[in-house]
Amino acid sequence: MPSSADSVSAYLARRARWSPLEIAFWIFVFATIWLFPGKYLIMKDTAILALFALSLDLILGYAGIISLGHAAFFGLAGYFSGLIAKYGIINEPVIALICSGLVAAALGFITSFLVLRGSDLTRIMVTLGISLILGEIANRYSNITGGADGLQGVDIKPIFGLFRFDLYGHNGYIYSLIVLFICFVIVRRIVYSPFGLSLRSLKGNPLRASAIGIPVNRRLVAIYTVSGGLAGIAGGLLTQTTAFCSLDVFSFDRSADLLLVLIIGGTGYLYGGLIGAVIYKFLQDWIATLTPQYWQFWIGFVLVVIVLVGRERVEGWIAAVREFIVRLGGRLVERPATVGGGAGPDGH
């Protein structure tokens, strides 16, 4: 007779197994390096957006905190990595990236205590306020940040002294993909751990979660910190691959668009941010060619329609497609579909 702890860990281990479909997904993602040469810049942006969305999903989808100011972490780390590269403090991009992630995580840790309190509205206001304050500071100290002109003269040294950031974004794209993959693996590990499970219960009902002995506030602080760090890595990545950073990294639009990305892909689901980023970028690219100036209208339109149709229903359709693909994938490798499904039931 196995103990309950054993069965729980067996359950977690079963859920955490990489399904063939996931492996296929990542093989395809890395294959894009050779499949679509000449599209590196937009694909790189997509990868960064995906990482950013993944970080928001940790707090929105898994912990249930609505944030309208996730750009704060993105922007802070963006400026940080730009500044340390500009003044040659840390020349190795990988270490610089990790440092900017840590800086953003520190901000996440500090601000998490502000987010713990209050209702949804208070959280929205506080997160929004923090990103506005940071934007205001960046604007204020324009002698350091370059103000409205953006941070100029950022010189990013080659990665490990070997791979230079070329003009076509080839190495930049590969670098972004590898960072995305590593972060994804970390997030995946977190989500399928007992810690991740406790987050889900906390989102479902904080009161009950604390009644069964989950330290709600400590969990929220921890996940907010991690999420801030990941968003910071995304921001650092953007600065490093573009060798530029402007005030726009703090803008409200960035945080709002990010919500849209996550909503398109589905919240509380690891691949939601990734798929959402791809769809969003395609959509944006496509609309921008139709109406270069007014694409924002259609972005807003998509948001309104998604909410009116019902987010659950849209996610239901996506889940149905997902299920279908999982089943297809399961049949192809001659395995029952229930074993695969790295996604798991969404619980909506």
Binding site: D120, I124, M125, V126, I130, G300, L303, V304, V307
Partner: protein, 286 residues
């Protein structure tokens, strides 16, 4: 010093007229409406079209801005908003952000992205000198109009039957409904009225706040500050909050211009941490 106080009060009054509709909708339906600024912008552009292009007098432009925006508000409330009340806060936020983006792009498309100015009549330009204090005539008008509106609102909410229905609905929607109050109708009316006030505020404020397509995004945070700091359970809370905010903002920009909007945001966060329910909120047992 007193001039700053005067300007601050005018600014705060304006903010109150702009934001009071938002505070009622938030209190009544627990609905987070980030698109409130879009109504204010609609009122502003409406006045620009009426006064500048069609040559109507300014005094006629203001009430028309109110009516047009109220009509737009009622229309949107019935067709779109009413579907979203029961949804989660995340859905409401997404929905209203979507509306903001649409309104920004739509106005940009129809009116152009440059800043617009309402032609205010000659009689309202210039300033009075009273006891050595310069008072701009236009700001005096704003204080007068907004002050009258505030008193009017207070009377409507405090004295009339509709006001008592509204207060009942805000206090406890379910019980109010149980007593036979048509909460939906009360809400539509309030929403339309609040949007109209925002429109009027936008029209009046075009001179001071500036009017361009990014208006809803720029002032969204200000409206939200008024509402969250003032609380949603009364009219006086948001009123005091907006006067304070107005004075703080004008004084901040005057004395420490280098800090910009920094002061406001910091105060907001501190207040929210200190009293998450708002500065002037009673401890509502909800």
């Amino acid at each position: 010093m007193l001039t700053i106080l005067f300007d601050g009060v005018a600014y705060g009054m304006l903010l109150f007229v702009l934001a009071c509709g938002l505070s009622v909708t938030l209190g009544l339906m627990n609905f987070i409406n980030l698109a409130h600024g879009a109504f204010a912008m609609a009122g502003g552009y409406c006045t620009v079209i009426l006064v500048n292009r069609l040559g109507l007098p300014f005094a006629l432009g203001l009430p028309l801005a109110f009516l047009v925006t109220a009509a737009i508000g009622a229309l949107l409330e019935r067709t779109l908003y009413s579907h979203v009340y029961a949804r989660s806060h995340l859905d409401q936020v997404l929905f209203t952000i979507g509306l903001v983006f649409m309104s920004v792009a739509a106005v940009d498309y129809t009116m152009g992205s440059s800043q617009q100015f309402v032609l205010i009549p000659q009689a309202l330009q210039g300033q009075f000198i009273v006891f050595g204090i310069g008072m701009s005539k236009y700001r005096l008008l704003i204080i007068l109009v907004c002050g009258l509106l505030t008193i009017g609102l207070q009377l409507i909410i405090g004295k009339t039957r509709f006001g008592s229905r509204l207060r009942a609905a805000v206090d406890d929607r379910r019980v109010a409904r149980g007593l036979g109050i048509n909460v939906g109708a009360v809400f539509t009316l309030t929403f339309a009225f609040g949007s109209g006030l925002a429109g009027l505020g936008g029209a009046l404020g075009a001179e001071i706040l500036g009017l361009d397509p990014t208006f809803p995004l720029k002032y969204m945070i200000y409206f939200l500050i008024v509402v969250t700091v003032g609380g949603t359970s009364s009219i006086t809370g948001p009123f005091l909050a907006s006067i304070l905010l107005g004075i703080a903002d004008v004084a901040g920009k005057y004395y420490v211009p280098t800090l910009g909007a920094f002061v406001i945001y910091t105060i907001m966060i501190v207040v929210l941490i200190w009293r998450p329910q708002g500065l002037f909120a009673r401890s509502a047992a909800r």
